[in-house]
Amino acid sequence: MIKLRIVSHVISFCILLVLSCSGPMQQDFELEGTVVLLDSINVPEVDSNQKAVIQQYRKNLEAEMNRLLVYSERVMERGTPEGLLNNFVADLVFEIGKELYAPEDDKPIDFCLLNYGGLRVPLPRGEITYERVFELLPFENEMVVITLSGEKTLELFHYLANATRGMPVSGIKLAIQDNHALEILIQGKEFDINRTYKVLTSDYLAGGGDSMNFFLQPINYELLGMRVRDAIIKHMQRVHAKGEKINSELDGRITVLD
């Protein structure tokens, strides 16, 4: 039998065990398991039939997707309790959301909450293409403004205090200790349970996605008419038009105290 070269390069662990025999038709086997990294060392050649089919689909995409959108000053990854990518996305979505929002009651949006799981890939340093932004946010989610009671808003902060992953937020400052929201500032002001709050989020989360059940049955639900991804593209276009690069920093908006 011809030696399988690629696998011999990459087997890092093997397990081999014998199942004991009992019960109906039990089959003894020994198992060897591994995971092969698909890089150019382990798999130097790609399949030409696949490549040909992909090329047909790729052609139409390329024209649109390979275009440069903006340059990035640094690599942005998501993080917990906060991350460069969390802050970047939440801040710009909040900015554009405020710009679009024209409420009947003249009360502005108080803060923005998105989800960690929704940020699918990091942003590299340097060139950012349309494709990368589609990968960052592949979902067709719409921006919505949810009006919550004080109690429901407190539930939201309980959720954040218990979240195991850093949720992208903008407009708030939160200190967490022992899964408890110790200090809550909204637009620099202390949280007040006796008033309502307007939260900018996505229709996915507003529908209870990621178990954000505090968004269900809100006082008001207002669609802004723009996708979250389109807000990011809009922001990047503006930055690029000014000849600038996108950037982000950590500012301690969510801190976990010992």
């Binding site: 039998m1 011809i2 030696k3 399988l4 690629i6 696998v7 011999s8 390069h9 087997i11 890092s12 662990f13 093997c14 397990i15 081999l16 065990l17 014998v18 199942l19 004991s20 019960g23 109906p24 038709m25 089959q27 086997f29 020994e30 198992l31 060897e32 398991g33 591994t34 995971v35 092969v36 990294l37 698909l38 150019s40 382990n42 798999v43 790609v46 039939n49 696949q50 490549k51 089919v53 992909i54 689909y57 139409n60 997707m65 699918r120 890939v121 590299p124 340097g126 060139e127 349309y130 494709e131 589609f134 990968e135 592949p138 979902f139 996915y204 529908g207 209870g208 996605g209 059940n213």
Partner: protein
């Protein structure tokens, strides 16, 4: 086994296959007493429309992954090993503009070309709604298997398999599928009237059916439940612990990299092996099962690595 024997076996099965096609009798009805020494299970999960490799400037996976590279490796393994099962544990869709533009068509076409035997339904398979999934499903030349989603009151009624039995030589391999709770994870407008049933209860029913009624020697659970949760939410580890006949769980959803596969003791005191390969098709999982062979002849391809002796558990 040498290449000559391989070729002879191939000719015979092809002939039988043609006869079966001509007569309308399923191929396996002819039976095949050929003793299988080795079964190679190849698996992916959460490939998320990653059709092209990651770009060269990606911070984590520069130039890695991609369907064409995965297919090349699968082909190479097929040239080496006669009996291969190729499985996907869900979330084939969503993640690159290919999905936004084509709705999953290229993913299913390319997986069919790779010879996938089965996939299960991940939560992102619902991203374009039940209609969106039903529309592109004809491009899949392999079954989607889900045992705990009831699609009978949806447009997918009759289009998703409850379980499947695969034949490799004299081996009968039963596969059932488990999907994650949709409420709170997928928009209700997307999953519609799909009904979710408790995975452990369904797993016990399926393995009993496959083992006792269908006499399957190997039982595989194709799962999109996730490997394990701190909260104690139902997961692959829990299914493994609470079942008795399931041999292998090919998992997904939590993007966990299990290298090597995890081992969990089931309710009958036997080992269950759980595989998961991380995210975005950057890796291919592989489990080789060896049957009734002399240990000195095993792992011929793995000669740079440690060769283990049989050991009783």
């Amino acid at each position: 086994m040498d290449l000559k024997t391989n070729r002879r076996t191939f000719t015979r099965t092809t002939l039988l296959g043609s006869l079966a096609l001509a007569s309308g009798i399923p191929f396996w009805a002819f039976g095949n007493s050929e003793e299988v020494a080795r079964l190679c299970i190849l698996h992916t999960n959460d490939t998320h429309s990653r059709i092209d490799p990651y770009p060269a400037n990606d911070p984590n996976y520069p130039n890695m992954g991609g369907y064409a590279r995965r297919a090349a490796l699968i082909n190479q393994i097929r040239n080496q090993v006669e009996h291969v099962l190729l499985l996907d544990a869900g979330d084939i869709f969503q993640g690159t503009p290919y999905f936004n533009m084509y709705g999953g068509e290229p993913e299913l076409k390319l997986m069919t070309m790779m010879g996938y035997d089965a996939a299960t339904v991940g939560n992102h398979e619902f991203d374009n709604g039940l209609d969106g999934f039903a529309n592109i499903l004809p491009h899949a030349g392999f079954p989607f298997i889900s045992s705990n989603y009831d699609f009978s009151r949806t447009i997918l009624d009759g289009k998703i398999d409850n379980y499947r039995i695969f034949h490799r030589g004299n081996l009968k391999i039963g596969i059932y599928g488990l999907g994650i709770e949709l409420e709170g994870l997928v928009g209700r407008n997307l999953y519609g009237n799909t009904v979710y049933h408790d995975p452990v209860r369904v797993a016990r029913r399926m393995e009993m059916l496959l083992k006792e009624d269908h006499n399957c020697q190997i039982i595989i659970c194709l799962s999109h439940l996730g490997y394990q949760y701190e909260t104690g939410k139902v997961s692959d580890v829990i299914v493994a612990e609470k079942t008795r006949y399931t041999d292998i769980i090919v998992g997904g959803h939590t993007h966990t990299l299990l290298e090597p596969p995890a081992q969990v003791t089931n309710s009958a005191g036997k080992n269950v092996y759980i595989g998961q390969t991380g995210y975005a098709g950057v890796r291919l999982g592989r489990m080789d099962l060896y049957f009734n062979t002399d240990s000195t002849e095993k792992f011929v391809e793995f000669n740079t690595t440690k060769i283990f002796k049989n050991q009783e558990i």
